[in-house]
C-alpha cells in the first residue's frame, strides 16, 4: 500500500524548472530518503507534498486519493530545513499553539505536549522563552511540534543539523519508533551515512530531475564495482599474475582488488586455496551511498555546488 504517490510533478518558477517531471511512491510505514545537492529542487518538492505549493502539472495522491491540502494538512507533520519558531513565546505555549493549529483541541494538545516533554526530558523548559534555548534544544522542540499531532506522514528536512551525537541519537530512536508505530517518514538530507543507516528507500534528485530511485540495498548492488577485500595469513601475498582480478591497493596482508569481468568470488577463493594461501577474511566491498551520490551528481552536466560530506 502506498501512502503517497507523486505522478509527473512539474513546477516552474520564473527563472528555472524547480521540479521537472518527477514521479515516485512511498510505502506506508517506510522511511524514505529524499536526497540531492543544494538547489536540486528538494525543498520545492517537499513544499508540494505539504500543500504549500500547487504543482503546475501532475498530481499527488495521498492514500490513493487526490491530495487535498485543506483537509490533509493535519495528517502531515513538516519540519523545514530552516527551523523557525516564535522567539518571544514560551516553549510550552508554543508547542500548544502549533498543536492546536494542527487541529488538536486544547486539552488533547496539552496532554500530548506533556507526554513528549516527559519523553525527551524537557519538562523544566515549559516557561522558558524560545530565544533562550540552545540550538539543540530548539531542534528538539521543533521535532516535537512536528510530530505532536501524530501525523501519518512526517517530513523531516535535515533533522540532525546542529544536534550533538547524544541528542541526534535520541531523535533517531524516536524516528525509528514512529516508523514502527505506522508513521511514514520522508527524510531529506545531505548526510549519506545517516541515510544508509536510517532509510529503506531513497530517491536522488538533481536539477529538478530524478536520478535514482530504489531501496538502499538495490542501489548499492546496482552501482557495485566488483571490488573485494581479502585478508591473508601472515607473510603471505596475493599473486599478481592472474587475469581473474586486478589489485587496487594493499596494506600488509590486506588487499583490495577489482574482479575482472565474468569472474566470481568463488573463482578467487578456489585459485588461492589451490595455491595453499591462507585466507583470514574475504568480502565484497559495496560502494557507499556517498560515492554513488557524488558520482551521479558530478556526472550531471553543469551541476551546482553542494556540500561534500567528510
Amino acid at each position: 500500500m502506498h501512502l503517497l504517490e507523486l505522478k509527473h510533478i512539474r513546477k516552474h518558477f520564473a527563472t528555472q524548472k524547480a521540479v521537472d517531471d518527477i514521479s515516485f511512491s512511498i510505502e506506508t510505514g517506510s522511511i524514505f530518503g529524499l536526497l540531492g545537492p543544494n538547489g536540486a529542487g528538494k525543498t520545492t518538492l517537499l513544499r508540494i507534498i505539504t500543500g504549500i505549493f500547487n504543482p503546475d502539472e501532475g498530481e499527488v495522491l495521498f492514500e490513493g486519493r487526490k491530495f487535498d491540502p485543506a483537509k490533509d494538512v493535519s495528517l502531515i507533520g513538516y519540519m523545514p530545513e530552516e527551523k523557525g519558531l516564535y522567539k518571544k513565546m514560551k516553549v510550552g505555549e508554543q508547542a500548544l499553539y502549533f498543536g492546536q493549529l494542527k487541529g488538536l483541541s486544547y486539552s488533547e494538545a496539552a496532554e500530548k505536549v506533556r507526554f513528549w516533554f516527559n519523553r525527551l526530558e524537557m519538562n523544566t523548559w515549559w516557561n522558558k522563552k524560545v530565544e533562550d534555548l540552545s540550538k539543540g534544544m530548539h531542534q528538539k522542540l521543533q521535532f516535537i511540534i512536528t510530530v505532536l499531532h501524530q501525523p501519518r506522514l512526517i517530513i523531516l528536512d535535515e533533522p540532525f543539523s546542529g544536534l550533538d551525537p547524544v541528542n541526534a541519537n535520541v531523535i533517531k530512536d524516536e524516528i525509528f519508533r514512529l516508523a514502527k508505530e505506522g508513521s511514514t517518514i520522508i527524510f531529506s538530507t545531505h548526510r549519506m551515512e545517516q541515510v544508509e543507516e536510517i532509510c529503506d528507500h531513497i530517491v536522488l534528485v538533481n536539477k529538478g530531475k530524478k536520478l535514482l530511485d530504489g531501496s538502499v540495498h538495490e542501489i548499492k548492488q546496482e552501482y557495485k564495482e566488483h571490488v573485494y577485500s581479502i585478508e591473508l595469513g601472515a607473510s603471505s601475498s596475493l599473486p599478481v599474475d592472474t587475469d581473474i582480478y586486478e589489485i587496487i591497493s594493499h596494506k600488509g596482508s590486506r588487499y583490495l582488488f577489482k574482479m575482472k569481468e565474468s569472474h566470481s568470488g568463488n573463482e578467487v577463493l578456489d585459485y588461492l586455496i589451490r595455491r595453499n594461501i591462507p585466507i583470514l577474511s574475504f568480502n565484497e566491498v559495496l560502494p557507499s551511498l556517498n560515492d554513488i551520490f557524488i558520482k551521479l551528481v558530478e556526472s550531471t552536466p553543469a551541476s551546482r555546488q553542494f556540500e561534500t560530506v567528510s
Binding site: 504549500i52 494538512v73 519540519m79 523557525g84 519558531l85 516564535y86
Partner: protein, 435 residues
C-alpha cells in the same frame, strides 16, 4: 475559521501582555495631559517681568507710558542712561529706553539699551505701548476727541453661526470646536494607522526572517496567517483606543467635579493666550454641539477599515522584503505617501469642509479615513451629505476588499521567498499569476 481565531488570539494576547503595550497605553494620555498642562502653565505664569527705565528727552512720553503686568516703565535721569551706555547696568532696571527729541509725524531714533536682548513678545509690547502714546498725541494734534472715539469703538460684533438643515434641532455651530475635533480625530486615525500598520509589517518580517512562516503555512493557509495577524493587531489598536475613551470619560467625571469653574476659566484663558486650541472651552462645548456617540462610531468605523486597508498593504511589503530594514523603508514609501498627503489635505478640508478637494478626498479610500473624520465634526447631515458618507463607506469597504485580495496574492508568494528582495515587477507577476 477556527485556525484564524487561534492566530488572532495569539497575536492579540502576546501584544496585550507585553509591557510596551501597557506602558504606551498609560503614558500616551499622560503625555498629552502633561503637554496641555505645560502650555497652560507656561503661558499663564509670565516668566519675564521687565523693569525699563525711560530717559525721555522729548517729554512726549513722560508719565504716559502705562506699566502693565509684564513691563514696568519708570522715568530715569540721564545719569542712568549714561551708565547703561558705559556697559554698567543699574539695578533694578533691565534696560533703558532712550527717546530723543522726535518728530511726532516721523518718529525715529528711539533706542533700547541693555546688556540683555528683549524677547520677541516684549519687544512687540514696548512698540505697542510707544505707538499707543504716539497715536494719542497725534489725535490731540488732529483735534480728535479721544473719549468720543473710545465710546464709538466700544462693543464690537462677534458673529455666531446657526446652521439650518433637515435636522430639526439644528445647533449653534462653533467652527473652532469642529476644527479642533476634526484635527484631533484626523491625527489620531493617522497615528493609529501608521503605528499599527507598521506593526503588522514588522510582525510579518519577523515571521519571515525567523523562518517560522514556513512552519505556519504547512498548517494554515497563507491568507489565514495574514488575516489573523492583521485582525489580531487591529484588535490591539482598538483595545488601546477604547481604554483611552474610558480613561477620558472617567477623567472628565473626576476633573469635572473637582475643578472649580473659575479654574477651568483660567485654563481656558491661558489656552487662548497661547493661541493654542481652546481645549477647556472645547470640552464644555463638545457635548452641547456635536453628536459624540455618532462621531465615536464613525471614528471606530474609519479606524477599523482605514487600518485594514493600509495594514494589508503593509503586510504585502513585509512579505516582500528580507532582513534589511532599509529595503522595508524603501518599499513602505509609496504606501506612506497617500497617508501623508491626507494630512496635508486635512488642514485644507478643515478650512473649507465643503470644498471639492475635501469632498472627493473623503470618498477615495486612500484618504477618506482621515479626511472624512476631519469633516464629520462640522455636521452630519449638513456639511457632510448623506450621499457623501454612503459613498465613502462603500468605497472604504470595497477598497479594503481590494487591498486584501492584492496583498494576499503578494504575501502568499513573498513569505516563502528568500534571498534578494522582490522588485515591483516581481510583485506584479505574483498578483497576476494564477494560483
Amino acid at each position: 475559521m477556527n485556525k484564524i481565531l487561534l492566530i488572532i488570539k495569539r497575536e492579540y494576547l502576546t501584544r496585550i501582555r507585553n509591557k510596551t503595550f501597557i506602558l504606551s497605553t498609560i503614558l500616551t494620555p499622560l503625555f498629552f495631559i502633561a503637554l496641555i498642562g505645560a502650555t497652560a502653565y507656561f503661558s499663564n505664569s509670565n516668566s519675564e517681568e521687565l523693569h525699563i527705565g525711560v530717559y525721555d528727552e522729548s517729554g512726549l512720553f513722560t508719565q504716559k507710558l502705562k506699566s502693565n503686568d509684564n513691563i514696568r516703565y519708570t522715568s530715569v535721569p540721564q545719569m542712568i542712561y549714561d551708565s547703561f551706555v558705559m556697559k554698567n547696568p543699574v539695578d533694578p532696571y533691565n534696560g533703558v529706553l532712550h527717546i530723543p527729541v522726535i518728530d511726532v509725524e516721523k518718529p525715529s531714533g528711539i533706542e533700547y539699551i541693555s546688556d540683555k536682548q528683549l524677547g520677541i513678545f516684549s519687544q512687540a509690547q514696548v512698540n505697542d505701548d510707544l505707538n499707543d502714546v504716539l497715536e494719542q498725541e497725534r489725535m490731540i494734534r488732529a483735534n480728535i476727541d479721544t473719549v468720543k472715539l473710545a465710546a464709538i469703538k466700544l462693543n464690537e460684533i462677534s458673529i455666531s453661526q446657526k446652521i439650518v438643515g433637515d435636522d430639526e434641532d439644528s445647533k449653534t455651530a462653533n467652527a473652532a470646536v469642529s476644527s479642533a475635533i476634526g484635527y484631533i480625530s484626523g491625527f489620531m486615525i493617522y497615528f493609529l494607522m501608521f503605528i499599527y500598520g507598521t506593526m503588522v509589517m514588522r510582525g510579518i518580517m519577523e515571521e519571515k526572517v525567523s523562518r517560522v512562516a514556513e512552519v505556519m503555512v504547512s498548517s494554515v493557509k497563507p491568507f489565514q496567517l495574514m488575516m489573523g495577524k492583521i485582525i489580531g493587531i487591529g484588535a490591539v489598536g482598538l483595545t488601546q483606543f477604547l481604554i483611552w475613551i474610558a480613561l477620558a470619560v472617567v477623567g472628565s467625571i473626576i476633573f469635572g467635579s473637582s475643578l472649580s469653574p473659575q479654574h477651568m476659566q483660567q485654563v481656558a484663558e491661558a489656552q487662548q493666550q497661547a493661541k493654542g486650541v481652546a481645549v477647556a472651552n472645547l470640552m464644555n462645548d463638545v457635548t452641547a454641539q456635536v453628536n459624540v456617540p455618532f462621531l465615536i462610531g464613525a471614528f471606530v468605523f474609519y479606524f477599523i477599515f482605514g487600518y485594514l486597508f493600509y495594514a494589508s498593504l503593509f503586510a504585502a511589503v513585509g512579505s516582500a522584503v528580507n532582513e534589511d530594514p532599509q529595503d522595508a523603508q524603501a518599499m513602505m514609501f509609496p504606501i506612506t505617501i497617500p497617508i501623508i498627503f491626507s494630512i496635508i489635505v486635512m488642514t485644507r478640508a478643515i478650512g473649507n469642509p465643503t470644498g471639492a478637494l475635501a469632498v472627493w478626498c473623503s470618498i477615495i479610500p486612500f484618504t477618506s479615513p482621515i479626511i472624512m473624520m476631519a469633516r464629520l465634526p462640522f455636521g452630519f447631515p449638513g456639511t457632510v451629505a448623506w450621499w457623501e458618507l454612503t459613498a465613502s463607506v462603500v468605497c472604504m469597504i470595497g477598497g479594503f476588499l481590494f487591498t486584501t485580495w492584492l496583498s494576499a496574492k503578494i504575501y502568499r508568494t513573498g513569505i516563502l521567498m528568500y534571498g534578494k528582495k522582490a522588485s515591483w515587477k516581481d510583485m506584479l507577476q505574483w498578483v497576476v499569476r494564477k494560483s
